[in-house]
Amino acid sequence: MTAETDAFLEVKNATRSYGGVKALDNCSIKISEGKITGLIGPNGSGKTTLFNAITGYESIEGGDVYFRGQSITGKTPEQIFALGIGRTFQLTKIFARMTVMENMFIATQRKEGWLRSVIRPAGSSEELDRAVEILKFVGLLKLAESPAGSLSYGQRKLLELAYILIADPTLLLLDEPAGGVNLSLIKELGDHIRYLNSLGKTFLIVEHNMDFVLTLCHEVNVMSSGSVFMTGKPEQVRSDPRVLDAYLGIDDFEEEIVVP
């Protein structure tokens, strides 16, 4: 199980600290193209910080991030998004007072003069078709004209995924996609991810639901105290005693707070 020489996404020795606490401590990770990669670890191990570092939401004090061989360290979130890296958030960020369909058009970038964009109707017919297709795919089409704020928590997660998909990213970073979502939706979500993966999309998923991660991912990274200490196939991770150790002593705190 060796990674390819030129990794699709690679973080090298990233460091980030808050006050005295090192959220990322010389953290390195490699993601292979076309795979579903999992990222697990106890609460506070730095998973979300790593996501933020990759997607430009937080700067890192040391280290580098490479995407397709190019450094993307220090780029802004919108630049990174434009490169084809989309992400979702642990606490969903949808546009609550806009309709589901309107949410879909935010991320559609088209090369047009900004002055014209001021008065041209949003969403061309091909974009509309695409949005309909994606909403149908995630099962939100019937709610297309509802305000996004009226969606359930699980539906919001799906919407977040949907409105990123419209920009056709090649790499998707999902932050706890299954957190707080009911069982049937979790299964559906897994199917969606597998299907998208079969279309060639690469995933990096932070998740606490072990069953979900271990059945879905091709490869799993385990983080603790700000760095990735092991990488392997799901069955290797499942049987590795160090993983259990890493989780020991962690109370159920996180279980309580995942949902807003």
């Binding site: 933020n52 958030f89 606490l91 960020k93 309580e256």
Partner: protein, 294 residues
């Protein structure tokens, strides 16, 4: 400009700035914890001044002694307003809605004051209002020094509450992240009410000193609130220390320009300084940098 004038101007600025800092301290707390703009802070100060005035004129209670009554009274008023109106603001349009609600509160209080006191100027009088100390070959009004010391003491009390008490921890947690604070068991509603009440209670002191330094009418609050808002933003939202520095910068800059150049442009220069600072540091002098992620 004669010798000592500039030094006096700076000293005046510091003393007056202290009083403005006190009035702004409550505003910045409310800003920080409740995530809202409290337009009514100006009229609370004026209300505080009228409260001191009434006690002095109707009951012969001295300005400082009167605070024993006015501080709890303003505290209760603040708690009531938070409970009755502020708490009902949603998360959406919170900034706009808070402006509108507190504006409505302002005109109600203004109407009550106009009804009761009329629109003529009132001022607080006490012997120390016109007495002075001798410094720099000049005289320093006692009321300025007393006001400054009182303001400083009040700011220290606020600091103590914020950093040494259980409530303070909750307040700071709520300022940092309302949502997360809730998750770790902070009763954000209660903390909000208390913070609003404390922020309003402080105006009892601010109003007393303000009223002793200059005459006031129910109309005076509008000039005041514009100034307080700029102080709070200059210092950084939610920072009590920032309010102190912001107030000092405001008054000292204006005072220096006034005597060293011309009062005509002094106010404008202050606003220009404010804009430049915010251009370089959008979060204000002591504001927390906005976290971009969740």
């Amino acid at each position: 400009m004669s010798a000592g004038t500039l030094e006096m101007a700076i000293l005046d600025g510091i003393l007056t700035g202290g009083v403005y800092a006190l009035m702004a301290a409550g505003l910045t707390l409310i800003f920080g914890v409740l995530d809202m703009i409290n337009i009514a802070q100006g009229i609370f100060v004026i209300l505080g001044a009228y409260a001191s005035y009434s006690l002095e004129h109707s009951f012969g209670i001295g300005l400082f002694e009167g605070l024993i009554i006015t501080i709890p009274a303003m505290f209760l008023l603040g708690a009531f307003i938070e409970w009755a109106f502020i708490r009902r603001l949603g998360e959406y349009n919170r900034v706009s809605m808070s402006i509108l609600v507190t504006y409505a509160v302002t005109i109600v209080i203004e109407g009550v004051l106009l009804l009761h006191f009329g629109s003529n100027y009132r001022s607080l009088t006490a012997s120390y209002v016109t007495q002075s100390f001798h410094v720099f070959g000049n005289y320093l009004p006692k009321i300025y020094l007393y006001g400054f010391l009182l303001a400083l003491a009040s700011v220290l009390v606020l600091y103590f509450i914020l950093y040494k008490t259980r409530l303070g921890v909750s307040v700071r947690a709520a300022m940092d992240n309302r949502f997360a604070a809730q998750l770790v068991g902070v009763e954000v509603k209660r903390v909000s009410t208390l913070t609003f009440a404390i922020g309003v209670a402080v105006t009892a002191v601010g109003g007393m000193v303000f009223g002793a330094v200059q005459p006031f009418t129910p109309n005076s609050s509008y000039d005041l609130i514009s100034r307080l808002l700029t102080i709070v933003v200059l210092g950084g939202l939610g920072s009590v220390g920032g309010a102190l520095v912001g107030a000092l910068v405001m008054v000292v800059v204006e005072d220096i320009i006034s005597v060293a150049w011309t009062p005509t442009w002094a106010t404008l220069i202050y606003f220009a300084v404010l804009v430049i600072v915010l251009l370089l540091k959008p979060q204000g002098l002591f504001g927390q940098r906005e976290v971009r992620a969740q």
